[in-house]
Assembly symmetry: C3
C-alpha cells in the first residue's frame, strides 16, 4: 500500500460522494475534529490506568464518536445515514453531572492547568470549541448538515472541563481561581 | 449546578451585554485566547518549581491577564471598564529584557524545541500569534475594541520566545540554529 | 538587542520585501507553519534518542525545511529564489514507504494516540493539514505563490501518520481501530 496518493497536490480533495477545495468549510470542520481527536489521544496517553479508568473509557468512546461525527460532515451522498446520534449526547450529560458532583463546587472561573493530563484536557476543551465554531460556520453556509454534530461538540467541551477538574481533584491539585472573576457559575 | 445550559445548541451564544453567532470574530478571538491560556497552563505543568520559580510566577500572572483581556473582548456593555491595562505590557517588556540577557546572544532563527517545557512555550508563542491575528481581524471589522489586547498579545509572544530560550539555557540544552538562516536578529 | 520592536503594535507587519496586515492570508499560512514546526519540536522532545534516532533525524531535517517553506511564503521580493525544492518531497516519500513497511499493514482508520510522542505526531499531522488548508486559501487568492509548499505539507502529513504508527509499533503499543470504520486504506 502507498499511503500517499498525490491526488490532493492540486488543492482539491475527495469527500464521501464528491470532490471539493481543500479549504472548504466542510474540510475545515472535520479537519479540526481530527485535531481535537488527536488532543484527546494525547490526554489519554497522560492518564494513569488505575486512577482514571473511567475517564479513559469515556475518552476512548468519545474518540470513536468523533470519527462518526467527522464522517457525517464529510458525507454528501444523496442517500446517507448519519453515524452520530443523540444518544451519546445524553451519555455525556450524565457523565458531566457525575464528574461535577465529584469535584468541589465552583463559583468562579479557574486557570486552565494543574496536572499535565488536566492541562491537556483544557487544551482539548478549547479545540472542541474551535471545532464547534467551524461547524456553526458550515451550518450557516450549507443547510444540509447533521445538527447533532454541533450539539455534541458543545456538550463535549463541558465534559472536558468537568474531566479536567476531576483529574486535578483526584491528584490533590487545587485549581487556582481567576482572581478578578465574578461569581459566574450558577 | 448543571454545567451545561443547552443555550448554545442553536449556534448563538451569550457575551457580556449581548448575544451573537458562535462564529463571530469576537468569539473567535477570545476563544483563541482561552486556547492560548490552556497551552500556558500546560507549560507551567511541565516546569520544575525550583529551577523555574520566576517563570512560573510570570506565567501565572499572564494567565490572569489573559482572562482580563478575553473578558474585555467579550464585553459589549454600553458603560464598560476594561480590565487589561498598559501596565502588564511594561512588566512583560522588562522581563523580556532580563531573560534575553540571561540566554546567550542571538543572530539567527532557532528551531522551536529543546526541553518539553521549552517546546510547549514555543507552541504557546505561535498560538499567541494566532490570537493576535484574530484580534486584528476583529479590530478591522469593529472599531469598538480595546487596543491594549493586541499589543499585549504581540509582546506576550516575544516573552514566550525569551522564556523558551531561558528554559533550554538553564537545562544546558543548546538551541539549534536554522541552518539556512541569515543574520535576522539585530 | 531588544527582541521587541513595537513595529507590529498597529496591526501591520513586515514581510520579506513588503508590509501587510497581520491577518493577511500570507501571514496566516506561515504563522501556522511556525505552529506546526513547534509541535514537531515537541514530538522530538518526547522521543528517546536510542530507539528513534532515524525519526529524530527526519524530524530535524523537516524543521529546517519548514523554515525554508515559511520563508518562501513570506517573500514578495521581485527577484526571488525559493528555498524549498521538490527534492525533500521525494525524500519524504521514500521515508513514508519505509516506515509503512515497518508498521503492521492497515485497512481501517485508527484512533490517534498511543505513546505520548505518537499522540503528539498525530497532533502535528492535523496541524500540517491545517497549514495546508491555509496555503491553499492563499494560492486561491494570490497566483504568485511557490506551489512546492502545499505539496510538501500534503506529503508531510502522511509522513507524520506513518511516523506515529512506527513509534507505537516499536514500543509494542497496538493502535486501536475505529470500530465503525470501513476498509478505507487500499
Ligand atoms: C473522511 C475521510 C477521512 C476522515 C475520517 C474520519 C472522520 N470520520 O472524520 C479524516 C479526515 C480523519 C481522515 C484522515 C486520514 N485519511 Co482519510 N479519507 C476520508 C475519505 C474522504 C472517506 C473515508 C470514509 O469514511 N469512507 C466511507 C466509509 C467507507 O464509510 P462506510 O460507512 O464504511 O460506508 C459508506 C459507503 O462506503 C457506503 N457503503 C458501504 N458499504 C456499502 C455497500 C454497498 C452495497 C453500498 C451500495 C454502499 C456501501 O455506505 C456508507 C455510507 O457513507 C477517504 C476518501 C474517499 N472518498 O473514500 C479518505 C482516505 C481513506 N484517507 C486517506 C488517508 C491517507 C488518510 C490519512 C492518513 C491522512 C493523513 N495524513 O492524516 C488520515 C488517517 C487517519 C487515521 N486516524 O487513521 C486515503 C487513504 C489512501 C490509501 N492508501 O488508501 C483516502 C483514500 C484519501 C485519498 N488520499 O485518496 N480521512
Ligand atoms: C466571557 C465568558 C467566558 C470567557 C471568560 C474568560 C475571559 N475573560 O475570556 C471564556 C471563553 C474563557 C469562558 C469559558 C468558560 N465558560 Co464562560 N462565560 C462567559 C460569559 C459570557 C461572561 C462571564 C463574565 O465574565 N461576566 C462578567 C463578570 C461577572 O464580570 P464582572 O467584572 O465580575 O462584572 C461585570 C458585570 O457583572 C457588572 N457588575 C458586576 N457587579 C456589578 C454590580 C452592579 C451593582 C452593577 C450595576 C454591575 C455589576 O460590571 C462588570 C462589568 O463588566 C458568561 C455568560 C454571561 N453572559 O454571563 C459565560 C458562562 C459563565 N460560562 C459558562 C461556562 C460553562 C464556561 C466553560 C465551562 C465552557 C467550556 N466548556 O469551556 C468555561 C470555563 C472556563 C474556566 N477556565 O473556568 C456558563 C456557566 C454555566 C453555569 N452553570 O453557570 C456561562 C453562564 C454561559 C452559559 N452557558 O450560559 N467563559
Ligand atoms: C519571515 C520572518 C519570520 C518567520 C521566519 C521563518 C520562516 N521562514 O517561516 C517566522 C514567522 C517563523 C518568524 C518568527 C520569529 N521572528 Co521573525 N521575521 C521574519 C522576517 C519578516 C524576515 C526574515 C528573513 O527570513 N529574512 C530574509 C533572510 C535574511 O533571507 P536570506 O535568504 O538570508 O537573504 C535574503 C535577502 O536578505 C537577500 N540577501 C541576502 N544577502 C544578500 C546580499 C546582497 C548583496 C543582496 C543584494 C541581497 C541579499 O536575498 C535573500 C532573498 O530573500 C523579519 C523582518 C524582516 N522583514 O526582515 C522578521 C524578524 C527577523 N523576526 C523577528 C522576531 C522577533 C521573531 C520572533 C522572535 C517572533 C516571535 N515572538 O515568535 C520569532 C523567532 C522564531 C525563531 N524560531 O527563531 C524580528 C527580530 C527583531 C530583532 N530584535 O532583530 C524581525 C526583524 C521582525 C521585527 N520585529 O521587526 N519570523
Ligand atoms: C462561556 C462562554 O464562552 C463563549 N462560547 C460559547 N461557545 C463557544 C465556542 N464554541 N468557542 C468560543 N467561545 C464560546 C460564550 O460567550 C459563552 O457564554
Ligand atoms: C517575525 C515576523 O513574523 C511575522 N508576524 C508578526 N506578527 C505575526 C502574527 N501575529 N502571526 C504570524 N506572523 C506574525 C512578521 O512577518 C514578522 O516580521
Ligand atoms: C483523508 C481525507 O482527508 C481530507 N483532507 C485532505 N486534505 C486535508 C486537509 N489539508 N485538511 C483536512 N482534511 C483534508 C480529504 O477528505 C481526504 O480524502
Ligand atoms: Mg458551550
Ligand atoms: Mg510580534
Ligand atoms: Mg493529504
Amino acid at each position: 500500500m502507498k499511503l500517499y496518493t498525490k491526488q490532493g497536490d492540486t488543492g482539491k480533495t475527495s469527500i464521501i460522494g464528491g470532490r471539493v477545495d481543500k479549504d472548504h468549510l466542510r474540510v475545515e470542520a472535520y479537519g479540526t475534529i481530527d485535531e481535537l481527536n488527536s488532543f484527546i489521544g494525547k490526554a489519554v496517553s497522560e492518564l494513569e490506568q488505575e486512577k482514571f479508568k473511567d475517564l479513559i473509557d469515556d475518552l476512548t468512546a468519545i474518540q470513536h464518536e468523533l470519527f462518526d461525527g467527522g464522517g457525517d460532515l464529510a458525507n454528501v451522498m444523496k442517500e446517507r445515514h448519519y453515524k452520530l446520534t443523540e444518544e451519546p449526547i445524553t451519555v455525556l450529560e450524565n457523565r458531566i453531572d457525575a464528574l461535577s458532583e465529584e469535584a468541589p463546587p465552583l463559583k468562579r472561573f479557574i486557570l486552565p492547568g494543574g496536572a499535565p493530563a488536566a492541562a491537556t484536557l483544557h487544551i482539548a476543551r478549547t479545540v472542541a470549541r474551535r471545532a464547534e465554531r467551524e461547524t456553526v460556520s458550515l451550518m450557516k453556509e450549507i443547510e444540509d448538515v447533521s445538527p447533532v454534530v454541533q450539539k455534541y461538540l458543545n456538550r463535549l467541551s463541558d465534559y472536558l472541563f468537568a474531566a479536567a477538574r476531576v483529574v486535578n481533584y483526584r491528584l490533590s491539585i487545587q485549581d487556582v481561581e481567576y482572581i478578578r472573576s465574578g461569581d459566574v457559575f450558577k
